[in-house]
């Protein structure tokens, strides 16, 4: 029996602007288990990005409960949320979001800095992961000296460095060509095979087909939630 890592019940998110209150998420309930490989899909404006921000503890829901790894997120203060993001979640963004002035090693080690690890240990772990990502000869390079695919692999290395329980990837291949996309998706597949929980946000079907489970959003609600062919093969 799989254990749930994410439990969401009757979650709402409203945005307020000059025109009034604008509901983005309407009564979303969802459970994601350890080891899941989930693709969250939907067109622009469907609320999938907002949902991903709430999943990542970057934003708070207006109403409803969100239990992440047995923490009730609504009761946590900003510092506790920061700690939760640091320890539990690894982010991979569409635009890579690396620090342009820092070397790859420093970029990858950054979550460890905020986790207050010793410097020697940080460097050792970071180099190790960069090597696993095939970036062994770029330790001291700056992000703008390597290709987009290499940058995204660096970002994945950064997401993995703290051994998070969930990897949250927001359109991770949106800025990449098809060959590089294939390489990156292969990394996610392998990470899932060794037991990492992965949540992908995407609007492309062929990306979503890598996942074992697809959740479709439309107008702030879950339209469809189903297992894929791949899941049946693995099970």
């Amino acid at each position: 029996m799989a254990k749930p890592i994410i439990q969401i019940k009757e979650l709402y998110k409203d945005y307020q602007n000059v025109a009034g209150i604008f509901p983005v998420l309407k009564n979303v309930s969802l459970t994601i288990n350890h080891g899941d490989y989930v693709a969250i899909m939907g067109p622009s404006g469907s609320g999938k990005s907002t949902f991903m921000n709430i999943l990542g503890c970057l934003d708070r829901p207006t109403k409803g409960s969100y239990i992440l790894d047995s923490h009730d997120v609504s009761t946590l203060n900003n510092n506790e949320l920061a700690k939760l993001r640091n320890k539990t979640i690894g982010f991979v963004f569409q635009g890579f979001n690396l620090l342009a002035r820092s070397s790859l090693v420093d970029n990858v080690a950054l979550p460890l800095v905020y986790a207050k690890d010793q410097k020697e240990l940080r460097v050792k772990i970071s180099k190790n992961i960069l090597e696993r990502m095939g970036l062994g000869q770029y330790f001291d390079s700056k992000p703008n000296q390597i290709s987009g695919g290499q940058q995204q692999r660096t970002a994945i290395a950064r997401a993995l460095v703290n051994q998070p329980k969930i990897i949250l990837a927001d359109e991770p291949t949106g800025n990449l060509d098809s060959k590089t996309t294939h390489e990156i998706m292969k990394i996610f597949d392998e990470l899932n095979q060794i037991g990492n929980t992965i949540i992908l946000i995407t609007h492309e079907n062929d990306i979503a087909d890598h996942a074992k489970r697809q959740i479709h959003f439309l107008d702030g609600k879950i339209l469809e939630d189903h297992m894929t062919e791949k899941n049946k093969v693995t099970v």
Binding site: R85, L99, S102, Y114, N162
Partner: protein, 406 residues
């Protein structure tokens, strides 16, 4: 943790060198100005203090005032109203410790092929005690020399240098107004007086010799001025009145008549000079502090720009686990590094400037560790104070807003 943040702050500064340099420049100029101005102010105070100390303490000068006997009024000290007897009467007052009658004039002094124009002071041996003036070599004249109208002279440093050069002045014979004098003493240097005269440009001779051989007074026993020293500072007020009363009585001045002399409290004059210098030093410091403040505002301005520019970076950092405190510390540290590095350069520049001022203008400069520490700690606080607002602005950003910022 702290060290790695420090090195990050250093890198962030390096990312935009020109901007960092310009921001720092505000701090450099501010601190440099404070250090320089404090050095100049303290130097001025020190030189005033030294001249006041060299003058002697608790001093009065009694001058014969302008006489208007024949209708044309001459300046102070030109009538012959004061006498040596007045001087000894003042010396007998309870409030007075010591007196010295003084006759002064100028004369050309000749020694071998050299000559030099200087001021001649005719006085008694107590003059040296009142002014706390010792000889560097040789001796001062005695009561016996005064009684016997000896032709002995004690020379100041400036006179000795100009007449004798490297030679030992003791025992040399100099000629003053064709009268030969034996040099028996060389005075130690006193430097400038607080009104800027060279106190070492002087020859001191017994008062009797001065009157009979050099100045040729018409009225025997008259003196130009009398220097009197009160027993201590608290007698200064009373002594001025008792001296005035005494001389009025001795000169038979009726109640509605003006004094034919004046009593000057030299210590009070010196004090006011010292107050003026203190005010000047304070003003210099205050003006310099304003530039420090302007430097601080410069830091705040740049830090605000930097926070806006790096909003996305702040968002990334927050997403991967930076707490508010971490972001606050990061930006605060950057402001501090800028102000402390600027401060160090500023101190160096201020010290350099101070030495330059000393070299070019010959002004006295006093550099105290205290003023450097003060400038340094003020600058560091300015950095923290003006860095805090931008840093807290950065720390208060919501992660999602910061990440979305374009």
């Amino acid at each position: 943790m702290f060290l790695s943040m420090l090195s990050e702050a250093w890198h962030a500064m390096g990312a935009n060198r020109l901007r960092t340099f310009l921001t720092m420049l505000g701090m450099v100029i501010g601190v440099g100005a404070v250090v320089l101005m404090m050095a100049i102010g303290a130097g001025a105070q020190q030189s005033i203090k030294r001249s006041i100390d060299s003058m002697g303490t608790n001093l009065f000068v009694i001058l014969s005032s302008s006489s208007s006997n024949s209708g044309s009024r001459s300046g102070s000290g030109n009538s012959s109203a004061l006498s040596i007897d007045d001087a000894s009467a003042i010396g007998d007052l309870d409030d007075i410790e010591m007196i010295a009658p003084i006759s002064t004039g100028n004369a050309q002094i000749i020694y071998a092929g050299n000559n030099w124009n200087t001021s001649i002071i005719g006085t008694t041996s107590s003059y040296f005690s009142i002014r706390r003036w010792n000889t560097e070599s040789g001796e001062i004249f005695t009561e016996a020399d005064i009684r016997s109208v000896s032709r002995v002279a004690i020379v100041g440093k400036t006179v000795a240098e100009n007449l004798f050069g490297e030679n030992d002045p003791i025992g040399q014979i100099i000629s003053v107004k064709k009268t030969p004098f034996t040099v028996i003493g060389l005075l130690e240097s006193k430097g400038q007086s607080f009104d800027g005269r060279d106190q070492d440009d002087v020859v001191i001779v017994p008062i009797t010799t001065a009157q009979r051989k050099l100045f040729g007074n018409q009225i025997p026993g008259s003196v130009r001025m009398i220097m009197a020293q009160a027993k201590s500072e608290k007698y200064m007020g009373i002594a001025e009145d008792t001296i005035t009363d005494l001389i009025r009585q001795r000169h038979n001045i009726r109640e509605n008549m003006e004094n034919d002399f004046s009593v000057r409290n030299l210590t009070a004059i010196a004090k006011s000079a010292s107050e003026t210098t203190k005010t000047m030093a304070f003003l210099l410091g205050a003006i310099a502090s304003i530039s420090l403040l302007v430097g601080g505002i410069g830091i705040m301005n740049i830090m605000l720009v930097s926070v806006t520019e790096r909003t996305r970076e702040i968002g990334i950092r927050m997403a991967i686990g930076a707490r508010e405190k971490d972001i606050l510390l990061q930006f605060l540290l950057e402001a501090c590094v800028i102000s402390i590095v600027g401060c160090t350069i500023g101190v160096a520049l201020g010290l350099g400037g101070a030495f330059l001022v000393k070299k070019t203008f010959g002004a006295e400069i006093v550099i105290s560790m205290q003023s450097i520490i003060l400038a340094f700690s003020v600058a560091a606080s300015v950095g923290i104070f003006f860095g805090y607002y931008p840093a807290s602005k950065a720390a208060k950003l919501q992660p999602i807003d910061a990440l979305r910022y374009q």
